[in-house]
């Protein structure tokens, strides 16, 4: 029972006092930003990344992961109580969750969301533990052509699933790749796109772009919105769901977990897609679909399980292949790199404490979240009453401190200001920034692997199609594009992604 031993080992790592503490801070902060609309896990992790410099890698990753999946829990609270998605993935939860709250059943809705998320979290922890090691083994056999094809697939998938306009999303990927070039070329030592500014020869910091666009740019965008956020909260009484609720929710939770886990492993898809898919499935399977939209508990149970499963399974490609499956995962890998650990399949064998400790901490974190979200729900309701005019200066303060601490240099802040303005323009013109971020992270890796692949093949580009694994990725990439431009799928997808905000 190697799996069993590995998990026990993971728990011995995760259960140290320090790691438990960081896990708690992570899920606490995650819930906080999940509850608050207008700030997402991406900006928060970017802000807090510098704090992790002085922390051992395991603890740092445990905390950052906690923020990420904690946000999925918190998002549902706001969706149910205020009819606002605290996180984009919670958009679907608003539909039936809020209706339940209006019928005085906010308690059961919150409880089912937490139970579903916990179930999904537990299953996905096991999935990662089961499939991570064999996947990493396969990945160790990858050469430069395989890596290039795989990254190409990830980027195309990210673009295709990001928003309702594929052309613009693909263009954003290319823009990210271009921005990734800024800095010194590793092969020739030549500074590219540095404009003679010494700070730019090291490249643009990932955190600078993330905070610039997703914190500063986003606030500029929000402040232009003429609508005031209506904050009103209902009293929550009676948390316990009835036996009938539990029975009705059981299969939706299982199905939601399955859908989320499957979509989660694919690079590029976001938790919002998982929630929507689960909601559609439940509505199709229900005996009486007309109840949906009027407070059907299945409409909360399924999507909430799906988005948590998706969030957690995103760690599979990230940890086993070293390829970030989403922009948030790119930040996780960034955190690893800062700690001097090169992301990739070798992490699992060289740093088993990191991998298994993180996996075990996810289960612990999920358990903490149930406690944080159910008995303490009143605390988060209070938080919802903080007006945005007090919130955004605080976000600015923490962002700026975070950015400054990356290099202790004011230059990073000047660059952040630029990306704040650029990010605002992108959002205004509905150019989706998330695929850009993925392109930016993968850019240098892709160039490196492209060069290497073509060097090995003596300049013959067919190398990507003659090696079986690489060919498989190329075919998958082509399939993704073909399927998505088919008119029927296009119409359906537009309907699915329409209510989702640009990232």
């Amino acid at each position: 029972m190697e799996l069993f031993n590995n998990l026990i080992f993971g728990f011995t790592v995760a259960l140290t006092l320090q790691n438990l503490w960081f896990c708690f801070i992570g899920v606490f902060l995650g819930t906080l930003i999940g509850v608050l609309p207008g700030i997402g896990p991406l900006a928060t992790i970017a802000m807090l990344l510098p704090i992790t410099f002085n922390v051992p890698p395991v603890a740092a990753l445990i905390m950052l992961a906690g923020i990420y999946y904690g946000a999925q829990y918190g998002g549902s609270t706001t969706a149910i109580l205020v009819n606002l998605p605290g996180e984009t993935a919670a958009v679907v939860t608003c539909i039936d969750g809020y209706q339940m709250a209006r019928q005085g059943r906010a308690g059961p809705a919150l409880a089912i969301a937490a139970i579903g998320s916990f179930f999904a979290g537990t299953v996905c922890t096991l999935i990662i533990a089961l499939f991570g090691p064999p996947l990493a083994e396969v990945a160790l056999k990858f050469g430069a052509p395989e890596y290039f094809s795989l990254m190409l697939m990830g980027l195309v998938a990210a673009a295709v699933l990001a928003g309702d306009n594929i052309t613009k999303a693909l263009a954003m990927v290319v823009m990210g790749l271009l921005l990734g070039i800024v800095g010194t070329d590793v092969n020739s030592g030549m500074a590219r796109y540095s404009f003679g500014i010494p700070e730019l020869t090291d490249g643009i910091g990932f955190i600078v772009i993330a905070v610039g666009v997703f914190a500063v740019g986003e606030i500029i965008m929000n402040l232009g919105d003429p609508e005031e956020r209506a904050v009103f909260t209902n009293k929550v009484s009676g948390l316990m769901p009835t036996m009938a609720d539990l029975k009705a929710s059981f299969w939706p939770i299982v199905r939601g977990t399955g859908i989320g886990a499957f979509l989660g492993v694919l690079p590029g898809t976001g938790p919002a897609i998982a929630s929507f898919s689960s909601y559609m499935v439940e509505k199709k399977m229900a005996k009486d679909p007309s109840r949906f939209g009027k407070g059907a508990i299945e409409g909360v149970a399924g999507p909430e399980s799906a988005n948590n499963a998706d969030a957690q399974c995103k760690f599979i490609p990230t940890l086993t292949l070293g390829i970030p499956a989403s922009a948030v995962m790119a930040l996780m890998l960034g955190a690893l790199t800062i700690q001097g650990i090169a992301p990739g399949p070798q992490v699992m064998t060289q740093k088993p404490d990191l991998f298994w400790g993180l996996v075990a901490s996810m289960w612990i974190g999920n358990a903490m979240l149930v406690i944080l979200n159910l008995p303490l729900v009143g605390l988060w309701v209070m938080l919802l009453k903080v007006p945005y005019r007090l919130l955004f200066p605080a976000i600015m303060a923490f962002s700026c401190i975070g950015i400054y601490s990356v290099n202790n240099s004011p230059f990073e802040l000047y660059l952040t200001a630029v990306f704040g303005i650029v990010g605002f323009i992108w959002m205004k013109l509905e150019m989706p920034p998330a695929p850009m971020l993925l392109g930016f992270v993968l850019g240098p890796l892709m160039e490196e692997n492209l060069r290497r692949a073509l060097l090995i093949s003596r300049g013959d580009p067919t190398v990507f199609f003659t090696r079986p694994i690489s060919l498989g990725f190329m075919i998958a990439t082509a399939l993704i594009v073909v399927i998505m431009v088919l008119p029927a799928v296009k119409a359906r997808r537009a309907a699915l992604t329409d209510p989702v905000a640009p990232h």
Partner: protein
């Protein structure tokens, strides 16, 4: 529907891509291109710049065809004030220290909003500055001077 470039969302998005791609290619002309076998530092940027322009043209055409408008409502004030606040913070961190930088950043950022209540913002500024000092300097031990003289004493 006739083409209207004003507030045309995709027309301007396309223009953005084309300009960036052209600029990227123009800069990359100084970098050795090399060949597919031995790529020079100019190879990847030039190819990407070309792709960027191609996408830009496609997006621009979309704009010409669909005439989708940008969403109205945006705050010029926020667009001006928030980047400015970020820059000022960077400058003050260097020249005046952690506390003065925050004392300027927070109210300046708040001024980007529609409402500015003096008492409220004063309390927020003091509260956040104290909290940040305790958290980042005392708690996490970030090595920044709390106050240093603007003129070097």
């Amino acid at each position: 529907m006739n083409f209207d470039w004003r507030n045309n969302r995709d027309f301007f998005a396309g223009l953005f891509y084309i300009l960036l791609g052209a600029f990227g290619m123009w800069m990359a002309r100084d970098y050795p291109f090399g060949s597919a076998l031995r790529m020079g530092p100019g190879y990847f940027p030039s190819v990407l710049g070309g792709m960027m322009i191609a996408f830009g043209v496609a997006v621009m055409m979309m704009g010409v065809k669909n005439n989708e408008k940008m969403k109205p409502h945006w705050s010029f004030r926020a667009l001006l004030v928030l980047p400015l606040a970020t820059v000022v913070f960077g400058y003050l961190m260097e020249e005046a220290g952690f506390i003065p930088a925050l004392l300027v950043l927070i109210p300046l950022s708040a001024a980007a909003g529609k409402e500015f209540k003096v008492v409220e913002i004063t309390l927020l500024t003091i509260g956040l500055t104290v909290l940040s000092t305790l958290m980042f300097i005392k708690g996490l031990g970030l090595p920044y001077p709390l106050i240093k003289g603007l003129w070097g004493y």
